[in-house]
Symmetry: C4
Subunit: 208 residues, 4 copies
C-alpha cells in the first residue's frame, strides 16, 4: 500500500525543486523532469509537459519502477524510464533530477568527439559524494541523444553498473541527469555540475 | 460587439507577460510590443512607448485587424501591423509577442550574410509545435530591419504562407516575433528561442 | 527658498533608481552617484560612499550648481561637479545618473585607442531622444579617466556644447554618465546604453 | 567570558552575508565559509557543509583563535584556520569571507603560470582601503590549492606580513578570501573583487 503522506511530502519537494531550477534557467520551456522516491517500488514524478517553475500538486503523479502510472490517468514524463532504472539500481537513491541548461547543451556539443567530460583541479569537485580533494578526476559520461528512451535507459544502467561512483551523466545537446539520497543532495549535485560546466565553457572561450 | 470582459482578461495576460519578459531582460528601455486576440476581428495590444515591466491596464488598447484603434484615442505600437497580419493569417493564433533580446540582436548581426537561423541537434527544439525529435531542423527566417512596417508585414506574411510551420521570425539587429494558440504557448516559444539563440551564440564564441 | 517637498520627492526617485541600478549590477561596491533637479539652482545628490542598493533618505543631500552643500554638513559625491555642469548646461535636464557596469568598464578598455563608441544598425538606438531609425549613428564620447574632476567637468561640457545631441558619455575603465528630462527617461537611457554596450562586447568576443 | 549577545549579533551578520553571497552565485553547492569576530580571542564561523543561502542560527558556531570549538560539539569549516590567522594577524579585522565564484575559479586557472593577479586602470580599485586612484596597482596573490590547510595558513600569513596592504587573496581553482573591519566592508571588497575579476575574464575572452 502506498503511503499517501509520503507521496504528498515528496511532491512538495519536487515542486520546490522546480521553482528553484526554473528560476536558475535550467528548466526552460516546459523541459526537464524530476522525481522523488516514495517507497521501494514507487516514485513521485512530474507529469509530461508542465511549466517547471509553476508545478502544482496535481502535476506530480505516482509511477512504479516499470514506469506504469499508479492511481492516475495522467501521462508521466517521456523519460520516466531513465528515472526508474536509477531507483532500481540503487536502493539508497531518494531523488532524481533531469535539467536542460545552456551550459550542458553547449558544452556537450563542443565536446562533439568525446564521450565523457573530465573534471579535475576544481575545489568544487568535493561537492560530490566520496570526493575529498581537488586532485582526482570526476568523470561524467556523455551519451548521444536519442528519442528511444528504452535504449538510453539500458545504456545508462550498463555504464553505472560498471562505474558506480559516477555522480551524474549528460546527454548530448540535451541535458543533465543526477541523483542523490535526498532532494537536497541532488540539488547540490546540480549546482556543482552547473558551476563546473560553466567554468569549463568559460575556459574554452579563452583557451581554445 | 466587442466583449469587454475578454479584453480585460487578455490585457491582464499581456501585463503579466510584460512583467516576465522585462524581468528576463528581453524587453529593455520601453522596446517590444505584445498582443492577444479578443475575437476574430480585434486584438488587445500595447500602447506605444510604455515600460514593459510596469504595464497598467490603460496601457493595453484595442485595435482591429487593419490596425485601427477601437474605443481609444491612444496610439498603438508602431509595429501593430506585424501583429495584425499574423492574426489574419491564422485564426487559431491567440497571442503574438515581439521582444528585443541581446541574443537575438547579436546573433542576427553575426549571421550578417544569412537570411535564416537553422537550429538542429537540440532537444529543446521539441518545445515548438509539431516537433517530436532533435533530429530535424527548425528554420527561423531573418528579415532585414526597416522602419517601413508595411513592407515588413507583407514580407513576413509571404514567407509564412510559403512555410506555415515556421514558429518564429527574426528581424536583424532588432528582435524576435513569435506566436501561439495561447499566451502560455507563446511564452514557451520565446523561452525556447532565447535558450537556443543563446546556445548558438555560445557556440560561435568558442568555435568561430 | 528651496521647496523641501520637491527635495523629498526627488530623493525618493534617487533611492528607487539606486535599488534598480544596484540590482542590475551596475552600481557595485558603493560606486556610482545619482542626482535629480530640485529647482533652477539646486539638485538632490547622493552622499559619498553609500551602498547604492540601500540608500536611505538621509543619504541624499542638496547641493547648489557650484557643488556646495545646502542645509547639510555631509560630503556629496566626489564627482558632484560632473552633475552640476550638466544641470547648468541644459535647463530641461531633470536627472543625472552615473553607473559603473562591467560592460562600460570592459568595452572602454578594449577600445583603448578610440575616443568614441559608435552605435549603428541597432533598433534600440530609438530609445534615445530624437532618434527615429536604426540607420543613423549614435556617437558616445569616451573620456580618459582622471581623479581631477574639475578637468573632466570642463572636458565633458566642451564636448556637449559642440555636440548637444549626445545622449551619454563614457569614462574609460570607469563608467557611464547619462541624463534626461525625468528620472524615468534617464533610466531608459541607461537600459539602452547597457544593452547596446553588452551587444558590442558580445560582437567583439566572436568577431575580433 | 564570551558575550553571547555579540555572538548572536555576529551570527545574524553571517547569515545575511550568506543569503547575499549565495544569491549572487558565489557560494554554490554548500561551498564557502564565513566568519565574524566576537572578541580578541573568539570568532563566530560557519559549521561545515551547510547550504550558504539557508544558514540558520545553529549553523554558526564559536571557535577560538586556535580553531578549537567553544560551547559547541559541532565541526567548523575545514578551512577554519585560514580565518583564525587573519584575526590574529590584525586586531582590527572584524569579518572574513571566503567565496567560490566562477570568475575566481576560471581566472586563476587561466593565469596558470602566474602567482598574482595585478589590477590596474580600474576606477573600482578605489573600493579597497587606502586606494584613492585608478592609477596604481592592486596586487592579489594567487596561492596553489591544497587540502593541507595548515600549510596554506602559514603561506597566507607570511605573504600578508610582507605585504600588509593586500586586500584579498585567491586560491587557484578554488576561490577568494577577503576581510575588513566590518561585515559591510568585507562584502564591499567581495563585490569589488568579483567585478574586477569578471572584467579581467571578459578582457581575456576578446584580447587573448
Amino acid at each position: 500500500m502506498i503511503n499517501l503522506a509520503t507521496y504528498a511530502a515528496q511532491a512538495q519537494h519536487v515542486i520546490a525543486a522546480g521553482q528553484f531550477l526554473y528560476g536558475e534557467g535550467w528548466s526552460p520551456a516546459t523541459s526537464s523532469n524530476y522525481s522523488a522516491r516514495i517507497d521501494e517500488q514507487h516514485l513521485a514524478i512530474t507529469v509530461s509537459g508542465k511549466h517547471k517553475g509553476q508545478l502544482k500538486a496535481e502535476d506530480i503523479m505516482i509511477v512504479d519502477l516499470a514506469g506504469q502510472p499508479v492511481l492516475s490517468q495522467q501521462k508521466s514524463s517521456a523519460e520516466t524510464l531513465l528515472h526508474c532504472v536509477l531507483y532500481e539500481w540503487q536502493a539508497e537513491i531518494g531523488a532524481v533530477l533531469h535539467t536542460h541548461s545552456k551550459a550542458a547543451t553547449v558544452l556537450t556539443r563542443l565536446l562533439a568527439d568525446q564521450d565523457q567530460l573530465v573534471l579535475e583541479g576544481y575545489e568544487l569537485q568535493k561537492a560530490f559524494p566520496g570526493v575529498t580533494s581537488h586532485e582526482g578526476q570526476v568523470v561524467i559520461p556523455i551519451f548521444e541523444n536519442t528519442q528511444d528512451i528504452r535504449t538510453l535507459a539500458g545504456q545508462s544502467l550498463s555504464y553505472l553498473e560498471q562505474y558506480p561512483d559516477t555522480p551524474a551523466y549528460l546527454i548530448r545537446g540535451h541535458g543533465l541527469y543526477t541523483w542523490g539520497k535526498t532532494m537536497a543532495d541532488t540539488l547540490r549535485h546540480i549546482e556543482a555540475m552547473e558551476f563546473l560546466m560553466a567554468c569549463e565553457l568559460e575556459l574554452l572561450k579563452v583557451a581554445r
